[in-house]
């Protein structure tokens, strides 16, 4: 599994404000295009891993949308985040099929293993845990996705094993 390159910049974030220059190309490509606000926000999140406040202000200056309009749109959609995320995004599916196959137990095991709640990031910035409505892999329920790789037919033990193997690869302590 390739680590999520899109979150590389989230590491730098802690040292200071993220550099808005990283989305210059994106803004230029979208200039004057109707209905481009959501793709701009998606592109921004791809670059930084989240939507940094100072970058949203730059988007506002360049597109003419007010900051409140941009925030209104960004906060409406569950895809957008306003805080940095870990290198690995762990998304636990809570779709119907997963729910009836006890997705809650998977979620609980992951929370215990990572020692974080839903929506939070581990202290070492390695993992962010998120519950999602449905990943569409229902026949393999219960399912979780790490980065863009889906893991199916999970048991709580198997989910923990997968997390530990990533930790080991990343050289972290168990």
């Amino acid at each position: 599994m390739a680590p999520q390159s899109k979150n590389e910049h989230s590491q730098k974030v802690n040292q200071g404000l993220p550099d808005p220059g990283l989305i210059n190309d994106l803004l230029e490509k979208s200039a004057g295009k109707k209905g481009s606000l959501i793709p701009i926000l998606q592109g921004t999140q791809d670059v930084y891993g989240y939507l940094p406040a100072n970058v949203l202000r730059v988007i506002s200056d360049r597109t003419g949308y007010s900051v409140s309009t941009i925030y209104g749109v960004a906060s409406f959609y569950s895809q957008f985040r306003f805080h940095p995320v870990g290198k690995y995004m762990v998304r636990v599916c809570h779709g119907t099929a997963c729910h009836v196959q006890n997705a809650n137990a998977i979620e609980q095991a992951l929370q215990d293993e990572l020692k974080i709640d839903d929506g939070c990031t581990t202290e070492d910035h390695l993992f962010t845990l998120e519950t999602v409505a449905c990943l569409g892999c229902c026949s393999l329920a219960p399912v979780m996705m790490i980065g863009e790789e889906a893991h199916g037919n999970l048991t709580p033990e198997a989910a923990v094993r997968i997390i530990r193997s990533i930790r080991r690869r990343e050289g972290g302590a168990l």
Binding site: K34, G35, S36, L37, I38, P39, L41, Q42, G72, V73, F76, Y77, S78, Q79, F80, H94, G95, T96, A97, C98, H99, V100, Q101, V132, A133, C134, L135, G136, C137, C138, S139, L140, A141, V143, E148, E149, A150, H151, G152, N153
Partner: protein
């Protein structure tokens, strides 16, 4: 006998089951010279429960092996690929011999899924070889006028497959009749229902069928701009769509003067959704494509008259578009000969939950729920009993096993309180608590309500609170009636489909499983043991050996007892976490 070709299932389901490892290993083996044959990828054939699937094609025909992990792959290579000896016990489907999963396909009729699992979705030539873009070329060759295409689709009787069931051709006619010079065509691939994955599989496995259907529709209604609104949670589907659009453009199926039809210009782009279930509603989807908050607006005007950028816009579902090329090539009569008087053609269902075979099945309209569950679904998992089936996701309803003989058609399903929906079919057995299922769906719709209509925004929240307290043992007399009252208010006072259907899971579970609600409320008991707050744990004296494990493991020290003597659980301290139940090596903890 050297096999000509090895094909690996690389849809999301295959990948989730580990297909990428098999893919890497196959390629490594070819590079090292161990095997000498073509290796290619395909999408999802529907047998998701058997993934990863590996197909071996040689002069005799094809065999598909199921559940191919690395060990099994080595066996297949050793025996079939190198020696030509088929490993019959692993074969799930074959073109020339009986196989273990043949019954998965017997009651199916594949129109929409005609190419799924048969072609490499990233290779336009494989689509063309199977008759792809032939419908479009036929239209150009025979000079078929747009109105005749609309007539043909209306005659076929096809109704929208996204859930609404509005006749697709009628939508097209309204858009066509508009005078506006700029018309839009939108494909709704924002499959947000938890428990549904038909559209994802179709796009991942056969993106060109959707694109061809859209091009034909664009020609019929006179649209020049097309948008596919696809969930961002489906990265593989988005990638394959973009790739397929680029290929179609290179071959002249998109752009200007398409397939030689003068002045027929059509461009197509993919818009990724940003995670809002309400955007499955047409007007909310349009707001989202325009870059705004995805909130529905009042209708009329309907999008067919005034939609995207205020232009006439026809919005159809993925499955609907996929049917179109088939109807053009085979004729409306062939399509309308399948199904019932009011519901024509086939419907793809995503079969999941407690069935033996979870996957995608396409069946003719009119067959019964039982026929799907026992046919393609292979029946309920061993040792369990069919209790209920949930159709149509958060907008649909739960039907009890006693209604298993209800036919799959729009009217029959609506009369039960459920809906056809987009095709999610979650099967439940006796271990599923119906009150919990209702709470689960309300939790979903409450979270996904856009907030515009008060009754949807606050009503779903109040309903959820009532359901939560019932599940926690704090339900009181009158709660069921209160739920019903709120449900009817929400249905009648919400602007869009989300609110109008949100109470359906609650209403149907009350209608068919009222006794379960009453057990929770009056007896403070969850008959299935799912609602943990309602469980009581006790120790069976004749089994307890006094090993003290439970007492040591209990996180709240609710268990006491001397070594080698029977232990006791203090029900007042017990938080019902279930740790003792799991840890006891002698099965001495009873859970009721």
């Amino acid at each position: 006998m050297t096999p000509k070709k090895i094909i690996l299932g690389m849809g999301s389901c295959g990948l989730a089951a580990g297909a990428s490892k098999i893919w890497d290993r196959l390629n490594a083996l070819r590079q090292s010279g161990t095997i000498d044959c073509n290796i290619s990828a395909t999408g999802c054939i529907g047998m998701c429960y058997m993934e990863p699937l590996l197909e071996v094609v040689d002069e005799k025909g094809s065999v598909i092996y199921g559940k191919v992990d690395e060990t099994r792959l080595d066996e297949i290579i050793e025996s079939h690929i190198l020696k030509g000896e088929i490993l019959a016990h692993y074969v799930v489907k074959s073109t020339f011999m009986p196989a273990s999963e043949d019954s998965f396909f017997t009651s199916q009729k594949r129109i929409v899924l005609r190419n799924c699992g048969q072609i490499d979705p990233e290779n336009i030539d494989e689509y063309i070889q199977r008759g792809g873009y032939e419908a479009l070329k036929h239209i150009a060759r025979e000079n078929v006028p747009p109105d005749s295409i609309i007539d043909e689709v209306i005659a076929s009787g096809m109704r929208g497959r996204g859930g609404g069931g509005f006749p697709s051709g009628m939508k097209w006619r309204i858009t066509r009749n508009s005078d506006s010079p700029l018309k839009y065509l939108v494909c709704n691939a924002d499959e947000g229902d938890p428990g549904a994955f038909m559209d994802r599989s179709i796009i991942e496995s056969d993106p060109h069928s959707v694109i061809e259907g859209m091009i034909i529709a664009a020609y019929a209604i006179g649209a020049s701009v097309g948008v596919i609104y696809c969930r961002a949670e489906y990265p593989l589907a988005v990638k394959r769509l973009k790739g397929a659009i680029a290929q179609a453009g290179e071959r002249g199926f998109l752009g200007c003067d398409i397939v030689g039809i003068n002045n027929f210009c059509f461009s197509l782009e993919v818009k990724e959704g940003a995670g809002a279930f309400v955007c499955g509603e047409e007007t909310a989807l349009i707001a989202s494509v325009e870059g705004r908050r995805g909130m529905p607006r009042r209708k009329p005007p309907f999008p067919s008259e005034s939609g995207l950028w205020d232009g006439p816009t026809s919005i159809n579902n993925v499955e609907t578009f996929t049917n179109v090329p088939w109807i053009i090539l085979n004729g409306s009569k062939a399509f309308s000969s399948i199904g019932t008087s009011g519901s024509k053609g086939t419907k793809v269902f995503a079969l999941t939950g407690k069935v033996r075979r979870g996957g995608l099945a396409e069946v003719p309209m009119g067959i019964t729920i039982n026929e799907i569950i026992n046919g393609p679904g292979g029946g309920i998992r061993e040792g369990h009993k069919f209790k209920a089936v949930q159709l149509g996701g958060p907008s649909g309803g739960c039907l009890p096993a006693s209604l298993g003989d209800v036919a799959i058609d729009y009217e029959s399903l609506t009369s039960t309180g459920a809906i056809m929906g987009s095709g999610g079919m979650v099967v439940m057995d006796e271990t599923t608590c119906m009150v919990d299922v209702a709470r689960f769906f309300l939790d979903f719709t409450c979270h996904e309500s856009c907030g515009k209509c008060t009754f949807c925004r606050l009503g779903t929240k109040r309903m959820l609170e009532i359901l939560e307290r019932i599940c926690e043992g704090n339900g009181s007399e009158g709660d069921i009636e209160l739920l019903e009252d709120l449900a009817h208010e929400i249905i009648s006072s919400s602007l869009c489909g989300l609110g109008q259907t949100a109470p359906n899971p609650v209403l149907t579970t009350i209608r068919y499983f009222r006794d379960e609600y009453e057990a929770h409320i009056k007896e403070k008991r969850c008959p299935t043991g799912v609602c943990t707050k309602l469980l009581t744990y006790s120790i069976l004296p004749d089994r307890c050996t006094g090993c003290t494990i439970c007492a040591r493991e209990c996180p709240v020290s609710a268990i006491s007892g001397e070594k080698k003597k029977t232990h006791f659980i203090d029900v007042n301290l017990c938080t019902r976490c279930g740790t003792c139940f799991i840890k006891c090596p002698f099965k001495a903890i009873e859970r009721k």
